[in-house]
C-alpha cells in the first residue's frame, strides 16, 4: 500500500483544516438561527419557570403549577392525550391493515395520500367543521334529533372532554395510519407463509410473529400521537374558547393578561412541565423507531 502524505499522527495540513473550517462555517447560519429563535426562547421559559417576579430564584412557580387548577389541567391534558393516542392508535392500525389488504393499487394510494392530508387537518378549520357537524345547530345533531335522540339533553357538548377527543381523533387516526403503514408493509409475506406452512393459524401468526414485530412501531406511533395531543392548542381553543382546563390553554391565558399578582411566571412553569413530558415521550419514540427498523430490514 502506498504511503499517504498525511499520516494520522501528523497534524492535518493547513488546507485540510481550512476546508473543514469552511464546511463548519456552512453549518453556522443554521446553528445561529436555531439558537436565536428556538434555543433562547426555550431557555427563557425554562429559566423563567424558576424565577420570581422580583428576579430571584424560587420554587413557587413550580409548586403553584403542580397544584389546584393547574394540576387539574395537567391531569386533564394527560388524560386527553392518553385517550386520543390509544383509541385512535388502535383504530389507525386496524384501518391501515384493512386498507393494505385491499386489492387495487389506486384505491390504496388514494387512501394513503388522504391520510397524509387528513393528518394535517387541525386547529381552527377542523374545529369549525365539527361545530357544523355536532354543534348545537349541527347537521348530525339535527339528524339525531329527528331520530328522537337529543345528545345535548344527555349532557353532551362539543366543548367537553368527549367532544374534544372526537375532534382530535380526526387528525390522530390518520397520523397513526401514516406511521404504522410502513411497518405493516414491512411484514413480509414469507413470514406469514412460513408460519402457515408450519401449521400456524391466523391468530397464532399474529400472536407469535406479526404482533411482536409490529409492536415497537405501534408503541412508537402511540407515543407520537400522545405528544401531538399534549401540544395541541388551536383546536381546543377554537372549540372551547379557553373554557376547558387544558395545560396548553392555561399557558395561553397567561399571555392574555388574566394573571394573579406574583404568578406571572407560573405559565412558564407550566410550559416547562409540558416540555419535560414531551421530551421524555419523544425520546421513547426514537428509541422504539430504531428498534423496529432493525427488525424490519
Amino acid at each position: 500500500m502506498t504511503t499517504t502524505t498525511v499520516s494520522p499522527e501528523q497534524p492535518r495540513t493547513w488546507k485540510q483544516r481550512r476546508s473543514s473550517i469552511i464546511a463548519a462555517l456552512g453549518l453556522l447560519p443554521f446553528g445561529v438561527y436555531t439558537i436565536l429563535f428556538l434555543g433562547v426562547p426555550a431557555l427563557a421559559v425554562v429559566v423563567g419557570a424558576f424565577q420570581s417576579p422580583t428576579g430571584g430564584w424560587t420554587w413557587s412557580n413550580i409548586s403553584i403549577a403542580s397544584h389546584g387548577v393547574y394540576a387539574h389541567g395537567f391531569v386533564t391534558t394527560i388524560e386527553l392525550a392518553l385517550v386520543t393516542s390509544i383509541v385512535p392508535g388502535l383504530a389507525g392500525v386496524v384501518i391501515a391493515y384493512a386498507v393494505l389488504t385491499m386489492k387495487g393499487n389506486a384505491l390504496r394510494r388514494i387512501v394513503s395520500t388522504a391520510s397524509g392530508v387528513f393528518a394535517n387537518f387541525g386547529g381552527v378549520p377542523l374545529a369549525f367543521l365539527f361545530i357544523a357537524t355536532l354543534g348545537t345547530t349541527g347537521i348530525v345533531t339535527s339528524w339525531l334529533n329527528t331520530l328522537g335522540i337529543d345528545p345535548y339533553q344527555h349532557g353532551f357538548t362539543l366543548f367537553s372532554f368527549i367532544g374534544v377527543s372526537l375532534v382530535y381523533a380526526y387528525f390522530q387516526i390518520p397520523l397513526m395510519i401514516l406511521v404504522i403503514t410502513p411497518a405493516l408493509e414491512g411484514l413480509r409475506p414469507s413470514w406469514r407463509e412460513a408460519a402457515e406452512g408450519m401449521g400456524a393459524r391466523s391468530w397464532e401468526y399474529w400472536r407469535f410473529v406479526g404482533g411482536p414485530v409490529l409492536f415497537p412501531s405501534f408503541l412508537g406511533g402511540v407515543l407520537l400521537l400522545f405528544g401531538s395531543a399534549l401540544s395541541a392548542y388551536a383546536t381546543a381553543e377554537a372549540l372551547t374558547s379557553g373554557s376547558i382546563a387544558l395545560t396548553s390553554i392555561q399557558i395561553g391565558s397567561f399571555l392574555n393578561g388574566n394573571v394573579l399578582a406574583g404568578q406571572q411566571n407560573v405559565g412558564k412553569a407550566l410550559g416547562f412541565g409540558l416540555i419535560v413530558v414531551i421530551a421524555v415521550v419523544m425520546v421513547g419514540y426514537s428509541i422504539l423507531q430504531r428498534r423496529s427498523s432493525k427488525w424490519l430490514h
Binding site: 412460513a194 402457515e196 406452512g197 408450519m198 401449521g199 393459524r201 410473529v209 414485530v213 427488525w295
Partner: protein, 380 residues
C-alpha cells in the same frame, strides 16, 4: 462447514412421499402461469424445476404448498387429493428465497416454531431445535437473531426450521439465489447431502442451470407454464428434446447450414446427416436454410490461412479454453479446446470443423427455430 451430528435415521419413518401434480392450469390476469403442467415426484427424489423467470416454476411450487389455487388440475400426495387441505395442514417444509426467518425470534425459537404449533412440549422442542441447528452446522448460533446472521447462516436456519417438523415434502423456492457465489456452492452440497440422508421428497425451484444439474436427481425444464423436458441431468445435457432446452442448458452453438440434396451443407463442407424423425430435415427441398445445434466440445478449430473464419476471443475456463470464432454470416461459434492443444491466437484466420456425431438439426424460420430433430453425423 460440514455436517456434524450423525442423524438417527431410525427415528425417521419418513420414506418420502409420492407427489403427483396433474394437469395444473392457472391464469393470472392475462398470463397463463401454468398450462397443463404434470409431474410426478418419486419418494425421496430431488426434482429441480428449472426455467427463466415467469415460466411458472414458482407458481407450481406454491400450488403444491397450498399458497396458490389452480383453475384446474389436481395435486396428490401419497394418493390423497390436497385441494381441500389448507397450507397449514399439508405438512410440507418450505424454504423461501430470503428473509423468511421471524425477526423477533432467535435461531432456536425459529426452528422450534413448527413444533410449537404442533403443541410439542417446551423442553422437547428446544432440544430438537438444537439438534437441527447442529445438523446444519449452526449449534453456536442458537441465541442469535436473524439480523445478526449472514445470509448463508439465515438460510441454513430456514432449512433447519423446515426440517424440524419432519415434513413429507421439502419445498425450496430459489433458496440460494440471494447468496454469494461461494456460499451458494457450499450450501448446495449441504442441502443435497441432508436431503439424501433424510430421504425427503424435494421440489427445488431455480433459474440457475448449474445448480439444477448438480443437485437434482431429475430436472424439469419449464417454459411459459409448460414442461419442455424432464430427465436426469446427463440426458438433458446430451440429448435435449427441444432447442429451448438445448440452449438453456449449457452452451449451445447454432450453425447455419443449407440442405443440399439429402445432406446438409455447413462450415464449407457437406455432411451426411441421418435423422430418425418422420420428416427428416435432410429431405426438405434443396436450399432450405437450417440450423445445426452442437456444443462447443463438438467442434474443432485449426488455423488455416485464407479461411473465412476469424478467431475473435479466447477465454480460459479452467479445464478448457473457449475460442470464439466469427464465421461468414456474422455468426459467432464457440469452440472448446483442451489446454494441451496448440492454441490458435486471436485475430488469425481459422477453420471450424464438426467433430461431434450427435447434433440437432432445426428449421430456421424468421422468428426462430420451430422444430428440431436429433441427428447423427456420418463422418467420412
Amino acid at each position: 462447514m460440514t455436517l456434524t451430528a450423525p442423524l438417527d435415521t431410525s427415528t425417521t419413518e419418513n420414506q418420502g412421499a409420492t407427489v403427483e401434480l396433474i394437469g395444473l392450469r392457472r391464469r393470472f390476469g392475462a398470463t397463463q402461469a401454468l398450462d397443463g403442467f404434470s409431474l410426478t415426484l418419486q419418494p425421496g427424489e430431488l426434482v429441480a424445476l428449472l426455467g427463466p423467470s415467469g415460466c411458472g416454476k414458482t407458481t407450481a411450487l406454491r400450488v403444491l404448498a397450498g399458497f396458490e389455487t389452480v383453475d384446474s388440475g389436481r395435486v396428490l400426495v401419497n394418493g390423497v387429493d390436497q385441494s381441500r387441505i389448507p397450507a397449514q395442514r399439508r405438512d410440507m417444509g418450505m424454504v423461501f428465497q430470503s428473509y423468511s426467518l421471524f425477526p423477533n425470534m432467535t435461531a432456536q425459537d425459529n426452528v422450534a416454531f413448527g413444533l410449537r404449533m404442533r403443541k410439542v412440549g417446551s423442553i422437547q422442542r428446544r432440544q430438537r431445535a438444537l439438534e437441527l441447528l447442529e445438523l446444519v452446522g449452526l449449534e453456536g448460533q442458537a441465541d442469535k437473531y436473524p439480523h445478526q446472521m449472514s445470509g448463508g447462516q439465515q438460510q441454513r436456519v430456514a432449512l433447519g426450521r423446515a426440517l424440524a417438523i419432519e415434513p413429507r415434502v421439502l419445498l425450496l423456492d430459489e433458496p440460494l439465489s440471494a447468496l454469494d457465489a461461494k456460499v451458494r456452492v457450499q450450501l448446495r452440497e449441504q442441502i443435497r447431502v441432508l436431503q439424501t440422508r433424510l430421504k425427503i421428497t424435494t421440489l427445488f425451484v431455480t433459474h440457475d442451470q448449474e445448480e439444477a444439474l448438480s443437485m437434482a436427481d431429475r430436472v424439469c425444464v419449464m417454459r411459459s407454464g409448460q414442461i419442455e423436458q424432464v430427465d436426469v441431468p446427463a440426458t438433458l445435457y446430451s440429448a435435449p428434446a427441444t432447442p429451448f432446452v438445448a440452449e438453456f442448458v449449457g452452451t449451445m452453438n447454432r450453425i447455419p447450414g443449407v440442405i443440399a440434396e439429402g445432406r446438409v451443407s455447413l462450415l464449407n463442407k457437406t455432411v451426411d446427416i441421418r435423422t430418425s424423425a418422420d420428416q427428416p430435415a435432410v429431405f426438405r427441398p434443396a436450399g432450405t436454410p437450417v440450423d445445426v445445434l452442437v456444443r462447443p466440445e463438438g467442434l474443432a478449430v485449426t488455423a488455416t490461412a485464407g479461411a473465412r473464419g476469424i478467431v475473435m476471443t479466447t477465454t480460459f475456463l479452467g479445464s478448457v479454453t473457449r475460442l470464439g470464432v466469427l464465421l461468414d454470416e456474422d455468426v459467432m461459434v464457440y469452440v472448446d479446446q483442451p489446454n494441451s492443444a496448440v492454441q490458435v491466437p486471436v485475430g488469425s484466420a481459422a477453420e471450424v470443423t464438426l467433430t461431434e456425431r450427435d447434433v440437432m438439426v432445426a428449421d430456421r424460420t424468421g422468428a426462430g427455430v420451430a422444430q428440431a430433430e436429433s441427428a447423427s453425423v456420418e463422418h467420412p
